[in-house]
């Protein structure tokens, strides 16, 4: 009876063995940010066409941009991610040698065609310009916020607001709300007094903040009325409006503009396939295709020619949205992220 049961169970276990691809090299593990962005935008314009063109199967997973996860993999020599979709973390990944330095000849791409500074292009191929903005529910706030200072104004806009749990963009905006000019933000933030000033400004709304960690949360928090406004990625708000018809509105003042890159973590197991993917991911066609599913402007300048002209004005890179935008400083955060992260963590858990 027991042997029978064990044999049956053993058989079941055998039958249930997870499917393994026959050729381990014919696949690629790509990590992105989840939500409609990954499930629709990237899959339709990058992953599926790539697999179709090359036959390389893609395993997807998600992350929330934790540089430390990559560091842990590299340190423990267990790198099982092949391509990462990374945003503002690229400065740190690059300066700590956690990602491959790219050989642009091998990619077969012209790096002068891309947005982004030289240092970041050493490590990643940018695929779109995304922006962090303030979003709100227009049915609840008839007269929505007009400036970043409004977000910090509890008198004018009482109620909870959501912010990303981390120092990036929050510290910059705190300074802008406190009266620092956009062009001086990083100059001020580089001084200890500037950091103190930013935290002091954040202190004024701290008790009314709910912290989010994943890009899909702001739309959810706004949608179910948990908060009145939220910092958010414009792309995920755009998706939420499209998919669930939520009455969300974006305030573009002082949008934090940053690029998203494809990078290869150091020691990736499928380097050849990863290079193939980066070459594909940098080409104009998929980057232009992506604008059909979201509002992120392409990072390859050649792609704009392929974009539907009616979409143009909605993109993060449109002149109207760029009017008062704050450009993300990769080298500042590459140097300071660890330190400011620690300070932020200690700050956020104290009551």
């Amino acid at each position: 009876m027991v042997t029978g049961a064990l044999a049956a169970a053993g058989f079941a276990a055998g039958a249930l063995l997870p499917p393994r691809p026959a050729f381990a090299s014919e696949q690629l593990t790509i990590i992105s940010w989840g939500g409609g962005y990954q499930d629709v935008q990237l899959r339709k314009s990058f992953f599926e066409p790539f697999t179709k063109a090359t036959g390389i199967k893609i395993t997807e997973d998600q992350w929330n941009g934790e540089v430390s996860k990559v560091r842990a993999m590299v340190q423990t020599n267990t790198v099982n991610w092949d391509v990462l979709d990374v945003g503002v973390g690229i400065g740190e990944l690059c300066s700590h040698g956690l990602v491959e330095t790219l050989n642009w000849n091998r990619l077969g791409l012209d790096r002068t065609k891309f947005l982004g500074d030289d240092k970041t292009l050493d490590c990643g191929v940018p695929h779109h310009a995304s922006s962090t903005v303030i979003a709100y529910d227009r049915t609840k706030l008839k007269n929505g916020p007009k400036t970043i200072a409004d977000f910090f104004d509890l008198q004018k806009f009482p109620g909870k607001r959501a912010m990303q749990k981390g120092p990036t963009s929050n510290l910059e905006w705190a300074l802008v709300a406190d009266g620092v000019l956009i062009k001086d933000v990083y100059k001020v933030l580089a001084t200890p007094a500037g950091v103190d000033r930013a935290f002091k400004k954040l202190d004024t709304i701290k008790k009314d903040v709910i912290w989010w960690t994943a890009g899909t949360q702001p739309a959810q928090l706004l949608g179910n009325g948990q908060v009145v406004m939220s910092t958010a990625w414009s792309g995920s708000i755009n998706n939420a409006v499209k998919e669930s018809g939520l009455p969300l509105e974006i305030m573009w003042d002082a949008q934090m503009l940053s690029l998203d890159f494809w990078v290869i973590p150091k020691g990736a197991r499928h380097l050849d396939e990863a290079y193939k993917f980066l070459a594909f991911g940098g080409s104009p066609k998929p980057q232009a295709d992506m604008t059909r599913y979201g509002n992120n402007g392409p990072a390859n300048k050649d792609a704009m020619a392929l974009v539907d002209p009616t979409i143009g004005p909605n993109l993060t890179t449109s002149p109207a949205h760029m009017a008062n935008s704050l450009e993300f400083d990769y080298s500042f955060w590459g140097d300071k992220r660890d330190e400011l992260n620690q300070r932020f963590t200690a700050w956020v858990v104290q009551q």
Partner: protein, 417 residues
């Protein structure tokens, strides 16, 4: 005579082996019984006890600086720590920094120094880059020129302490202390001192949840123990069902119920008890409600099993001797339930100390307990020394309580369902 002697000797011969024989049989039985447990014991020792022991060791062991800056460590062994070290130490530092640049280890060195000297990481990285260009000495002036960091006695004190593979820094930091500039132990500045609060919070939430589960669990256990068994078995299923429902499912349920426009707020607003949605989630309320829900069956079950063994005759006797219902209950019944209360509460308290998922999903930043910080230091800050130190403290507290539990209740009293 001779035969007699032989006989006696023979008797003696039989006599002694019998005792030894019995001992041998006994020993063999022990060995055989033990042998059955050996596979699991080895398994647990290798995959569980050993990793945990190693983690405890990591709480005080750190040879990052010794390994990555060996020359500096050697040069500093004779340094008295009063003034800035001599040219020799700076030359060693320059050599180590150059090596670090070549090996791309400057980040790791910077991170280690940054732990004791916040803000140093980026300066170490840039010094390493620039030191690479230095070809000849004297190095002291050159390095201070590159970065004033190297003129600070504090950084040298850190480097000197790094000459030992063992450091109490992580344990000190876990209780909000650190090394001061002269290597004396001082309290952390208040803007980064968080752990004493976190430990107090962990204890506070655990005590609160234990108390609530007792208050809610005791009456229900009493009802279950006194109802006829057919009814009580049915009710028992209702108690045990959530116990066997995935923790994530239950936590999800609370997220859905307690949201601003969730079911609880809807009901309260429909009944006009409140006019604005109450804040029930991502704060202490949500954390305690969800934890209580998860722990309630675990407090209740030991109390229930003790109550089952209490004969109703004692209370009856007390009543017939003239005791009022409450007096009888309080003086006769209640004292007999104390072992169950102790077992249930202690178990719940021990388990509460290690909560991670529930506060992470339904609490706010200021409701996170110690387990959250262990996870954070492991995964996000990659400071494994801190993770180990906090883990060692949590584990020690848990094991002490486990010991008390064992003495008081006995580990074999743990029952499932």
């Amino acid at each position: 005579m001779v035969t007699m002697a032989v006989q006696v000797a023979g008797n003696a011969e039989v006599h002694i082996p019998l005792r030894i024989n019995l001992q041998r049989v006994e020993a063999r039985r022990k060995l055989r019984a033990f042998a059955l447990a050996v596979p699991l014991l080895l398994f647990i020792l290798i995959t569980f006890i050993f990793p945990i022991a190693r983690m405890m060791f990591d709480a005080v062991h750190d040879n990052t600086l010794l390994k990555l800056m060996p020359q500096t460590a050697a040069a500093l062994s004779a340094w008295d720590g009063k003034d800035l070290p001599s040219e020799g130490a700076y030359a060693a530092l320059a050599a180590d920094l150059k090596h670090a640049w070549a090996q791309k280890t400057a980040g790791a060195i910077g991170k280690r120094i940054n732990f004791e000297l916040p803000g140093a990481a980026s300066q170490v990285a840039s010094s390493s880059r620039e030191a690479n260009a230095l070809s000849t000495g004297p190095y002291k002036a050159a390095l201070i020129e590159i970065n004033p960091l190297w003129a600070q006695p504090e950084v040298w004190a850190v480097l000197k302490r790094g000459g030992s593979s063992y450091t109490p820094s992580y344990l000190l930091r876990s209780v909000d202390y650190q090394y001061g500039p002269d290597s004396q132990i001082v309290a952390l500045p208040t803007d980064s001192a968080i752990f004493r609060d976190v430990f107090l919070r962990t204890f506070g939430i655990s005590i609160g949840v234990t108390a609530i589960t007792l208050l809610l669990g005791f009456p229900l256990a009493y009802l279950l123990a006194t109802l006829p068994s057919r009814v009580s078995n049915l009710l028992m299923m209702l108690v045990v069902l959530p116990f066997w429902t995935s923790l994530l499912v239950r936590t999800t349920a609370w997220v859905v119920l307690l949201q601003s426009n969730g079911v609880v707020n809807d009901v309260l607003m429909t009944l006009h008890i409140i006019s604005q949605p109450a804040e029930l989630i991502f704060n202490r309320v949500g954390t305690i409600v969800a934890m209580t829900h998860i722990q309630l069956p675990l407090t209740l079950l030991p109390i229930y099993s003790v109550m089952k063994t209490i004969s109703p005759n004692y209370v009856r006797a007390a009543r017939s001797l003239g005791a009022g219902p409450f007096y009888g209950f309080w003086k006769v019944y209640f004292p007999q339930t104390i072992p169950g209360i102790a077992a249930g509460c202690l178990l719940t308290f021990i388990l509460c100390l290690g909560y991670y998922l529930t506060p992470a999903l339904v609490g706010g930043p200021s409701d996170q307990m110690i387990a959250y910080f262990i996870a954070r230091y492991t995964n996000e800050e990659l400071n494994w020394g801190m993770a180990s130190a906090l883990g060692a403290i949590l584990l020690t507290a848990t094991l002490l309580l486990y010991y008390v539990y064992n003495k008081l209740v006995g580990v074999d009293q743990l029952k499932m369902g």
